[in-house]
């Protein structure tokens, strides 16, 4: 079974530009999560999808971040416009509705210059 995949693995953009991160969860996993780790800080929850519906967006930092999960499969996280403080590693995780373990992808390292 393929694990959670994320693309790209690394993105370097300039302040003010737009970046879109993609996550492909494990097949059959209804739950999909986005987390972020800013340098020197803990991994922090951003939001949670059940299929295509947003269940919890309490961790989204501001309205420059937009997450979608069309069709309940892969998800995208768009940052527009990017700011310096958005730099960090963005992790995606997924699990089944009844699963207790969240399976994490390798992360996308975002650097905003």
């Amino acid at each position: 079974e393929a694990g959670v995949t994320q693309f790209p693995s690394h993105s370097v953009i300039e302040k003010g530009q737009t970046v879109t991160l993609r996550c492909d969860p494990i097949s059959g996993h209804d739950n999909l999560y986005w987390y972020r780790r800013v340098m020197g800080k803990e991994i922090k929850f951003l939001l949670h999808f059940v299929k295509e519906s947003k269940q919890d967006e309490s961790g989204m930092p501001n309205n420059r971040f937009l997450a979608e999960r069309t069709g309940g499969t892969y998800s995208t996280l768009k940052v527009q416009p990017a700011e310096l403080e958005d730099s960090g590693v963005y992790f995606c995780a997924s699990n089944r509705r009844t699963g207790y373990e969240q399976f994490f992808g390798p992360g996308t390292r975002l650097t905003v210059l």
Binding site: N31, Y33, I43, K44, F45, D56, F91, Y100, Q102, F104
Partner: protein, 113 residues
Amino acid sequence: QKEVEQDPGPLSVPEGAIVSLNCTYSNSAFQYFMWYRQYSRKGPELLMYTYSSGNKEDGRFTAQVDKSSKYISLFIRDSQPSDSATYLCAMRGPGGGYQKVTFGIGTKLQVIP
């Protein structure tokens, strides 16, 4: 005050040593306690999962939870160079595995041959 406190280390031990890692937390609602292992440039991988107070053993790893003290520990016996990684404590509230996970900052461990 952070919800989860964890010493970031780094912690360096000789091969074969017993390693003790720990975290404290402030949120009494946490009921599920986890330890994740993260290798460089990889996503977190679940190592141990415990519900409420008590001990759980899996091979060379033992997880302990003391809810009265809001303190959790991970012990690694006969540590190996392959155990060199960052260890993240994590916890969540009641309910299913869809609940968001709150992480500690992670302790970087190096096991020297």
